[in-house]
């Protein structure tokens, strides 16, 4: 179980080695999430249209190790963009992956780039 979790490590723009093409903008629902696959990883991608921003994070909820975050509802908590896990509604910041409910569980986040209507996620492996 731990191995599944450990393969997700936050990537910042600075350490991106590969911008992986995951589809076109229109493949992703507005103000909502969808899931993509990269090697063995499942990544949740959110087209946060209200903010004109895109976010990506691991699809795996660290609480019960379920691949579900892409289908959680997004929104904000006191201005911080977040996703609520569909299972038990734990809230994670889309900016840095921290748990807004205050406990230890954190998720990895990934940079997203939009170019000519195409969506790319940055990976370092």
């Amino acid at each position: 179980m731990q191995d599944i979790l450990n393969q997700y490590q936050t990537v910042t723009e600075a350490n991106v080695k590969e911008w992986f093409h995951v589809g076109e903008v229109s493949d992703f629902p507005e103000n909502s999430g969808a899931c993509i696959k990269y090697k063995t990883k499942q990544i949740a991608v959110y087209n946060f249209a209200r903010l004109s921003k895109w976010y990506a994070c691991q699809n795996l909820c660290p609480h019960k190790m379920e691949m579900v975050l892409a289908f959680g509802m997004i929104g904000d908590k006191e201005g911080i963009p977040k996703v609520a896990c569909p299972m038990h509604k734990k809230n994670f910041s889309l900016e840095d992956g921290s748990n807004l409910g205050g406990d230890d569980l954190k998720i990895a986040v990934y940079p997203v780039k939009i170019e000519n209507g195409n969506v790319y996620i940055g990976f370092s492996d």
Binding site: K37, Q42, G72, M73, D103
Partner: protein, 836 residues
């Protein structure tokens, strides 16, 4: 820099840290905390909640990062083994030494295990830590596999023992309580109240054995029975010992601090032990010859010790400590305050008892009839907070004190408002918050609502017992300032659900984003999105497909998400009636997609374990065979349960199946603040359990009796008789109006029963609105409901006909692969998700 070492990271040790770092000059000290348990301090008072969710983090007092933030070094999983007072050092189980300037002992207590022959056997547990609970859970699970009717006993019928009894029930074992004394909760209750409590507990399935001394524990390796006397044996396969606590004072003993004769480290009113640089707080401290087994005094001790170390020497522990308690045991209120058992020489008692309702109330009043000295409440402790305050603050009581405990209908309830309390009244005893502090937080320090007040004062964050009173105080204070008391949905909308319903309707708001632009702020969340989705659905009957991005995950995929991220499929089987052909289709589909199949508690069939991409394929087949969505995923009409009625049953008065199907089809797809369930029974034998539903019809001579606002679930309520002898048409008319009125006015996730409870004027008022049309809106309600009925569409049919549908039900955007994280294990010829 001076160094403080705290030994013990339990509730009180943690509270010491929290109080200490919040005080000026605390940054002049370095704080190191040792805890023997593997995790940071957690809320032991709410330990039993772990049985519900097994979520240890939810119980944490604060996450590890909190300690880091305040520069507190937290070392868990390490026990301190020795104190060397001469060198001011301690040693740990890992053989390391640390020096200290001040030592705070917060080592708490451990369960007392009496020296009974056989206690070492497997299956014998104590109830104190998360690890204890984990041990019990896995033992109980194994037991149940071997014997589904396994029994477990709790040794001790005190406060904690009864809580453990509830845990046994929750684990699905047959619960037995064994108490040495002739009554339950001997420390808090008198003989009569204990009898009332016993009756109540027995009525919900707890077996109680009083005046029983356990001689030995029998069994070969693991426990098989308790032996009381020669022929007096109770077969049980598990035992939880809850026979009191013993302070963990071993460190005090070895370094020669003064100890109580029956244990505990002696402290003065500064919380200092006989060594002035060593303090003891919480359940290890013996103060006034007493160990206080409650958190509130422990927190007070933490406050005193923190102040003393910082040099505020006039901060002392009061000599009187309030030991009043209120708890909810297995859904039964029990409270005692002040002097619960007062001798006749000191005053007189007023007792109200109603054994049929499992109710007992006793108050003890001074001889002059002017003051309240204490009391006991069993069965209904809703007046506890107010009585406790009257006692604590020596407030005047009515000339006829029985008014304080008599039911309202008999002239009772004569205490004034919470605002009559003196400012010094301590409302939250866990966090020592006075009435004055709560009001002041609003009048002077800018708190605007309950949330702000809790943040600012910490009131209610301990045991939570004071919550009703804090809510009243906040509301009354806001009102006194001329401010409206508002229930708002979340940080994005400062309206309640009814107001939002009206705003959306009057302004013809087309969608969620527009509602947020017009009436909200920020970007929404998982609370307001589904609330608005429900509002849109009941104003326009739009299905969950239209704005699927604001739907909860279940509604987004029109299926209930299961524990491993797969989904369930529940087609509508109106009234529970199904043809053999349709039954065969369900079987074939389940087989084809390898779905776990179960008859639900709602008289229909649930197919579990479908993957996202399979949902449209499965539904295509079901719809082709004539099925429709069952809306099991929505806050919407679920089922209308029926019994066979006069169609087959020799007692049936009317055709209950036919009517149940008609009603279920009328309201199918109807979204509402919470789920809606109905029932129709063919006679008063009530085989459809109609009175356990939001609406129920029972056939009687000359028509239907209509019952409303019942439910099963966590707080079961029987539905109340609303109208009698109705013909089909009138029954439906009343139902239309009742449901529409509920949908318009209820708060989010409020079912009909709690809604009615809060409705001013109650059922009589509702009758006036629905039957006599006192608000003049009946016609409007009729029309609205009819138009919703006319607009019904099966949302699964809509979804599979939508060309974009395939996209929504794909697990990955960029590949056709399926989720490879799913693991199933076999289960009685079918399959189930691998456990978490």
């Amino acid at each position: 820099m001076q160094k403080i070492i705290v030994i013990g990271n339990g509730m009180v040790g943690y509270k010491f840290c929290e109080k200490f770092v919040s005080k000026p000059n605390s940054d002049q000290f370095q704080v190191i905390v040792f805890g023997e348990e593997p995790r940071p301090a957690y809320d032991r008072v709410h330990l039993s909640e772990y049985f519900e969710n097994q979520d240890a983090e939810a119980l944490e007092m604060a996450p590890r990062s909190w300690y880091e933030e305040y520069n507190i070094e937290l070392i868990t999983g390490v026990r301190i083994t020795d104190i060397h007072r001469s060198t001011k050092t301690i040693t740990s189980s890992t053989d390391e030494s640390y020096t200290y300037d001040y030592l705070v002992l917060a080592t708490g207590s451990s369960p007392f295990v009496p020296n009974i022959k056989g206690v070492e056997k497997e299956g014998v547990f104590v109830y104190r830590t998360i690890e204890d609970l984990e041990g019990m859970l896995s033992y109980a699970a194994e037991l149940k596999l071997k014997n589904p009717n396994a029994k477990a006993a709790v040794l001790g019928g005190g406060l904690l023992g009864l809580e453990a009894g509830k845990a046994v029930m929750d684990m699905g074992l047959e619960p037995h309580i064994v108490e040495f004394a002739p009554k339950l909760m001997p420390r808090q209750l008198d003989a009569r109240s204990s009898q009332v409590l016993q009756l109540k507990l027995e009525s919900i399935g707890l077996n109680i054995h009083l005046s029983k001394a356990t001689n030995q524990i029998l069994g070969n390796g693991s426990i098989a029975a308790l032996e009381f006397g020669e022929d007096d044996v109770l077969d049980v396969e598990m035992l939880i010992i809850s026979a009191g606590i013993r302070p963990r004072d071993e460190l005090g003993k070895t370094c020669d601090l003064e100890m109580g004769t029956r244990g505990g480290i002696v402290v003065n009113n500064k919380m200092q032990t006989t060594d002035p640089s060593i303090y003891a707080i919480g359940e290890v401290a013996l103060y006034n010859q007493m160990i206080y087994g409650l958190v509130a005094p422990g927190y007070d001790m933490a406050e005193v010790a923190a102040n003393q170390i910082l040099g505020k020497e006039d901060f002392l522990m009061p000599s009187d400590i309030d030991m009043s308690t209120k708890l909810k045991l297995i859904g039964v209120d029990v409270a005692s305050f002040g002097e619960p058992f007062m001798p006749a020489s000191k005053g007189h008692s007023v007792i109200f008892e109603d054994k049929t309702k499992h109710l007992y109330k006793r108050i003890n009043v001074s001889h002059d009839g002017k003051s309240l000295l204490g009391g006991i409440l069993v069965g209904d402790a809703s007046d506890y907070n107010m009585l406790h305050q009257i006692y604590l603050n020596g407030m005047a009581i009515p000339e006829n004190p029985s008014e304080l405990i008599l039911p309202a209908s008999e002239g009772g309830k004569s205490f004034g408002s919470v605002m009559d309390l003196p400012d010094t009244a301590q409302v939250c005893s866990c966090e020592s918050v006075s009435k004055g502090a709560i009001c002041c937080s609003i009048t002077e320090n800018g708190s605007n609502n309950l949330g702000d007040v809790i943040k600012a004062t910490k009131a209610t964050t301990g045991c939570g017992g004071c919550k009703p009173m804090v809510v009243d105080l906040v509301n009354e204070t806001l009102k006194s300032l001329g401010r409206e008391v508002k229930e708002t949905i979340c940080e994005h909308f400062s309206f309640n659900r009814k107001e939002l319903y009206d705003l959306v309707k009057i302004n013809r708001v087309p969608n969620y984003q527009e509602a947020l632009n017009l009436f909200g702020e920020g970007h929404g969340c998982e609370v307001c999105k589904p609330v608005l989705a429900s509002i849109f659905a009941t104003i326009t009957m739009e299905t969950a497909n239209k704005q699927y991005e604001i739907q909860d995950t279940n509604d987004r995929f029109l299926a209930n998400i299961q524990r491993n991220g797969t989904y369930s499929v529940v087609p509508r089987i109106a009234g529970g009636e199904i043809t053999p052909d349709k039954l065969i289709v369900l079987g074939e589909v389940a087989k084809k997609y390898d779905l776990y199949t179960k008859i639900t508690g709602g008289q229909r069939i649930d197919l579990f374990g479908a993957q996202l991409h399979e949902l449209p394929l499965i539904w295509k087949e079901l719809i082709d065979a004539g099925f429709e969505s069952g809306h099991a995923y929505g806050k919407s009409l679920r089922t209308v349960k029926s019994c066979v009625g006069s169609t087959w049953c020799r007692y049936g008065m009317h055709e209950s199946v036919t009517f149940a199907i008609e009603i279920e089809n009328r309201y199918k797809g109807l979204r509402s603040p919470h789920k809606l369930k109905g029932g129709v029974s063919g006679c008063i034998r009530e085989c459809a359990e109609a009175r356990g539903k939001d609406f129920g019809l029972i056939a009687v001579d000359g028509g239907w009796n209509l019952y409303i606002c019942g439910n099963g679930g966590a707080t079961p309520k029987h539905a109340i008789l609303f109208a009698e002898h109705l013909d089909d048409e009138t029954a439906i008319k009343y139902l239309d109006r009742f449901l529409m009125y509920y949908i318009r006015t209820a708060g989010p996730l409020v079912r009909t029963a709690p809604w009615l409870e809060k409705l001013d004027g109650g059922i009589e008022y509702l009758k006036k609105v629905v039957i006599q049309d006192s608000l003049g809106i009946a016609e409007e309600l009729d029309k609205e409901m009819q138009s919703l009925v006319n607009k019904y569409e099966c949302e699964w049919k809509e979804a599979i006909e939508d060309p974009n549908m395939a996209k929504r039900f794909k697990h990955f955007v960029n590949t056709d692969d399926t989720d490879d994280n799913l693991v199933f294990v076999p289960m009685r010829e079918m399959k189930m998700p691998k456990a978490w």
